[in-house]
Amino acid sequence: MIGLEREEQTGIDFADLVREHQSMVFSLSYHFLHDRELAEEVAQEVFLGLHRHMGDIKSGEHAVFWLRKVAAQRSIDAARRRKRRPQVALEEVAEPAARAAVYDPLLGELLRRLVETLPETPRMVMVMRYQEDLAPAEIAALLEMPVATVKSHLQRSLALLREKLERRGVGGY
């Protein structure tokens, strides 16, 4: 009942927010955790949290900001709770034979797994940058860190991925 009153006040419908942003929240968690089941749990927790805080949500943009921020926090918490090594070691990841002109699903999977091996903060920065196409300033606001730190994480992560790919004979294009 309280939720309905809040929706009337803000004009934002909770069910619409879920429909519109479920793939964003789920993907942020999935690309960070690389675990579909856990990502579903985290995404559900995030929306449950949004439902409880609907009274604080002022606009659609605010809801998106809130969802991204809480999805990042909950995903990091879930990764810490899980406290286990990546399921597949980097050495076991299949290597694509050659880079195709069109999107190569094997290379995509390799990249996802390489991203998964990054430490928590740079990993979340990378997911926000390349999944959500967010600018460093937006990422900095979400993760509450200086813009320079975000840029530094991006540069170092890209350099690390490039190096690992080249070592596997995938880079150099």
Binding site: G3, F26, A43, Q44, H51, M126, Y130, Q131
Partner: protein, 98 residues
């Protein structure tokens, strides 16, 4: 943007959750709301634990007193029986004397 960033953008593109995800979220919010209102109903007054402790202590004291009374009555009955038996034995001894 170089090739690696383009590949990353494709590798990390959004994915859809299972088709029943929205329905499961709706169900979870209903359960959460019901549990929340239930919690409000079940809120107990602060004085209740203190009152329960006082009642338990008073009950314990009354029970101990009751058990003491019962034990005392039993001792009294046993003493009366013993006295009767002693009187009876004493009478027999007197009768037996020449």
């Amino acid at each position: 943007m170089d090739w690696l960033e383009q590949e990353l953008r494709q590798a990390l593109e959004r994915k859809d959750p299972p088709p029943d995800f929205a329905a499961r979220v709706a169900h979870a919010t209903r359960v959460d709301s019901a549990a929340g209102s239930g919690r409000l109903v079940r809120v107990w007054p602060r004085w209740l634990p203190v009152a329960a402790a006082v009642l338990l202590m008073a009950g314990g004291a009354a029970y101990r007193e009751h058990r003491g009374r019962v034990a005392k009555e039993r001792v009294m009955v046993a003493m009366r029986i013993t006295a009767d038996q002693l009187n009876h034995i004493q009478a027999r001894v007197r009768e037996a004397k020449p």
